[in-house]
Subunit: 468 residues, 3 copies
């Protein structure tokens, strides 16, 4: 059986000899630094409960839409992968499907992460294949039963210092509280305030959700006033539990500033179910502006992840729910959409706004120019489909010449796949070393500065940008 | 006279020593595989008649808008190149203009194809130049008179296994039938159903063409019903003559689903000459949807080539007709436009939809995400202006990290220049080897898998995607 | 103190050994050629007066928005950098801020230019740092007092043959006249006609400016007729003072052709202050068309720099004026917008239209296809945020495969920073050598032709495209 290439110490480094040797030295500087993960989607109860992981398929395949989507594209129905809570087949069967599909992943980011996890977390030395599906399932299953493979022990082994989760504004954050109070757990697990379903009028159940929010946190105020007050209060609750940032998954980065009277009118129409599409867009743009305003007051870092057409395939959405692999990017532009927000808050003291994209066209055209002027704006690390070696190199090559290194956010793993966290950070560090090594080899950055820069990028930047 | 660089055995391979040696070995695996050409524009009567090619200019220059456009940009009027059937000058004169202009082509894809054809098909060893124009004209002319340079002999020498042409739905396909029946010709020449001028209301003569279609193939039905029936019948006729795919040259990939009543009303307005611009867009979008529906029933692979502003320069169009070098791309987006079609047919059993683009922005943003989820969607090989070494490398680097290798179509030469076919496939194979060699050198794909992948990409993918 | 990397003779050349050695030889061919600068923003009175430069900060920092914007992004208010004529702090203090901020510039184009100027113009051998701020300020200051550092002497030392400035249509061009008449100054300093504030109705003071223009140059005609006549006359005045081109900074490359009656109606509404947004767009598009028409008559090369949202941050604009670092690109498309202009003038004898962009998506999609057909269209060198090593390489890789080398403009430094001119041209030459060396190493262009091409690109192209 072929040996896994995950054991190659030079993986992801450039091929050219001199450049590779520069890259190796740069990598050494950051290889052992702790993981800072300021944005992701791990369930905090995983660590709060510290229950053993289930089987390999439920851990590594079924919940990971990066993985299931490509197997689906090859013709395997999602219910054969236990996506969306379906249980028609056994986990072992899912693992077999996955092993058969493994060759499809060659060249993908997922292959890198999975191969790394299998090798460096679970100790597999062989490449996966249809013929070792049962054996590898059993091996990993056995590992998962060992105490060393419980979430908290892995958290420690992974050398994670901070892990941010993403949470509903009404979440009581008891898992975070439990972890914070637990003297035996030294990691920092912090929540992130994600109000999408409270500010997007079109999300199913919006009115009821908003009414509950106002009742619970509106300080007795009602209507739009109570709504704003409640959001402010819930942000405070998050801050008290360690939150440093908010997250906004808008379809477009449109922002606008309504008067309170205008906002109130739309809000009331929306509660009555009478809002139209224009109302919805304007209200969402206004709430983006309001969230920025709140950030300038309470200090939470604002992050925006725009430009995704969610749930593109209706039938799949109906059967398997959201996050089942058919969110597809659309073109995006920040320059005009963000102007109202930046006009008022772009130079506000202490305001941090991190902009992510899955549309690469904005890197050199908009993000680097914006972040290269506004003290508040930071360029988010390559996101989602772009969180991959070549895409990361394109990112650096596109933004650095205008904005340098200081205006980007540092790596964000954005993952719900806990076991992929070390592999994702490892890939990022290797690519940063690869990029810098080329600049050094081409006489564009001094070797000395490159050694400082890589530490700044990997360690200082996320702390600085996310106020950790 | 300088020697042609087409004889360099390492042409297009990466410069770095170790990577180049990996690339060489990969190239060896596919160098002698037969050519599969599932989409192109060669005239089938060329092979059916097997008449000798005319002179070098009429073969290599005048009909090739890739070539004439750049000479035109340098200030040579198109009638000096016998474009669009003009005959003001002699072919030898055209060849002189071409040889004088030859230095303009340095660095272009056309230079690679032409230089390869001149060297490997016609045996020239020198670079073209103004001073050897007459001599090279004569040399090639002499070759063209030899029996070995007749189309069918070249077809065999080129090692072509399958060649698809592009044909009008009303074409009787007699050239294809003649070739299929001819025991002395072992190649496979198959038609492609291209209904653009029957579904785009704005094309001159639409109404008459559609009436003839209905009369000929509508099974006695009339109006919209007869129109749909006739299209279905003509597709069947194509299938009977070996067709495996349809081709659609929409300006944008907009699709929509009208009711039969709505479609009928627009169809009637259009026949009466009363359709407006909105009618035209909606009807074209609806017919794209209908073509997908038919594909799910008759199994033809659907290919879309969108995003071109045809005939940009009115005066040139008037004097030289279409395909005279001034088709210019426009921005394109698939995510929203294709949704109605994909909502209904995206996971339909056996449906294949190959999406091409001349707007590179959609590679990582839309095509890889779509093809990485929908079993029906395949990413078309780099098309037209992007069918060139660096553009192909950008393509692979942009789509592979999300969609792997299995979701792309395999190479399509899309050419009307018969003698460029081997050079185009050769370039593609070299670039696939170059791309894979980098992944191997960077520890991202194993050497073993790269050897399997390149065979899959070159040989198995086009057979699989085009159901050959 | 670390030595500046600006003294590396191989800076910006590719790392791979064989490719680098090819690049070195190519660079040698053009290293000593004179500088041709057909588009830029140096103040001609600088050379006409030949007064010594002020201190280092006023020379290299305060007026350079590439530099001040990134320092601003790090949190330093613009008035601490004496931007926009503010004088709250002393130049020495500005220089200290700049030296402290110097590490932010690693990897940027500005770092390359500044480091080159400091090393090769001012003889510094160390890297800047907070600790040598005062010493470097003093060193440069001392140099600036020497006669050799007066503008005209630097002009000669820089080996500048032609330098174009950018000027208001009503400018009397007396500085240009003075230089032309001065037998002791052998350089050529030529004006460029930039009518933006006369054709964009929305610019403050438009009506008064236009009335003055008509009075001064309308040959006694009034209204729209006088306006067109006056613009034609002022172009003639520019031509008489050596101008070879016009410059147009449109928000979008939209063009259209109005009848004289339509244009007159909008013009009158605009003078009366009654033009609406649609009027403004249409009028600007019409005037772009008119400027092309005038170019076909008087021979001035037309250059368009579109796609910038000027003065994005209102508060900064109010306090520091235009060109203070917050102009941000927006998406742009040329294919449809330029069609009316190109339909009528695209093949006009002698017409040259140079298209610039800060939206890289148009390189392969639109600019190379347009310039590869229309004899009038040239692809402008990478502009503004894209005038940087990696961006330049992306430019060449994106346009060359379709349009070759002959359809691009040659390098344009576009700078108001006089001392950065040699560094900018040096960077461009090195990148051209780097790009060509890769094509040679990959067997795509012959070594011989590469040696010819680099001379053509650096020297002949700007002369040919700008009619110098």
């Amino acid at each position: 059986m072929p040996t896994s290439i995950a054991s190659d110490p030079d993986r992801l480094l450039p091929a050219e000899t001199r450049t590779r040797s520069i890259a190796r030295e740069l990598l050494e500087r950051v290889d052992n630094l702790p993981i800072i993960s300021p944005h992701g989607h791990v369930d905090p109860s995983l660590l709060a409960e510290d229950t053993p992981f289930p089987d390999p398929a439920t851990l590594l395949v079924s919940p990971d839409h990066y993985v299931t989507r490509l197997i689906h594209a090859s013709g395997v129905p999602l219910d054969q992968l236990r996506v969306g809570g379906t249980t028609e087949v056994e986990p072992r069967q899912v693992w077999r499907r996955f092993c058969e599909a493994w060759p499809l992943f060659d060249g993908t980011a997922s292959a890198y992460w999975l191969r790394s996890a299998l090798t460096h977390v679970f100790g597999l030395t062989e490449e996966l294949s249809a013929s070792n599906a049962d054996a590898t399932f059993d091996t990993i299953n056995a590992r998962l039963a060992e105490p060393g493979f419980r979430p908290r022990n892995l958290f420690k082994d992974f050398n994670i210092e901070v892990l941010a989760t993403t949470d509903d504004p009404m979440d009581e954050l008891s898992a975070h509280a439990k972890l914070a109070e637990d003297g035996s757990f030294s990691g920092k697990v912090i929540p992130t305030f994600r109000p999408d379903s409270y500010v997007k009028i079109e999300t199913p159940g919006w009115a009821g959700r908003v009414q509950r929010l106002i009742s619970a946190a509106g300080d007795g105020k009602t209507g739009y006033e109570g709504y704003i007050r409640a959001l402010e209060n819930r942000r405070r609750h998050f801050i008290e539990h360690g939150a440093v940032s908010t997250d906004h998954g808008a379809r477009s980065p449109f922002t606008c500033k309504l008067t309170t009277a205008e906002a109130t009118r739309i809000f009331e129409r929306a509660l009555a179910g009478d809002a139209d599409a224009a109302d919805r867009d304007v209200f969402e743009g206004h709430m983006m502006y309001q969230m920025a305003r709140m950030s300038t007051e309470d200090g939470l870092v604002m992050t925006i992840h725009p430009g995704i057409y969610r749930n593109h395939h209706p039938d799949t959405f109906e059967r398997f729910g959201g996050d089942s692999g058919h969110d597809i990017p659309v073109p995006v532009s920040f320059t005009e959409g963000l102007r109202p927000l930046l006009a008022d808050f772009g130079t506000a003291e202490g305001f941090h706004l991190v902009l992510f994209t899955v549309d690469e066209t904005v890197y050199s055209r908009e993000l680097a120019p914006l972040a290269g002027f506004y003290p508040s704006v930071y360029i988010g690390a390559p996101w989602w489909f772009l969180d991959a070696p070549d895409a990361m190199l394109r990112f650096r090559a596109s933004v650095t010449e205008t904005a340098g290194f200081s205006r980007s956010s540092g790596f964000i793993d954005d993952t719900r796949a806990f076991c992929s966290i070390p592999a994702r950070h490892d890939a990022s560090r290797r690519i940063e070393a690869a990029f810098l090594s080329r600049l050094v080899a081409e006489g564009r950055v001094s070797d000395e500065r490159a050694h400082e820069l890589i530490v700044d990028i990997v360690d200082a930047a996320p702390r600085r940008v996310f106020k950790l």
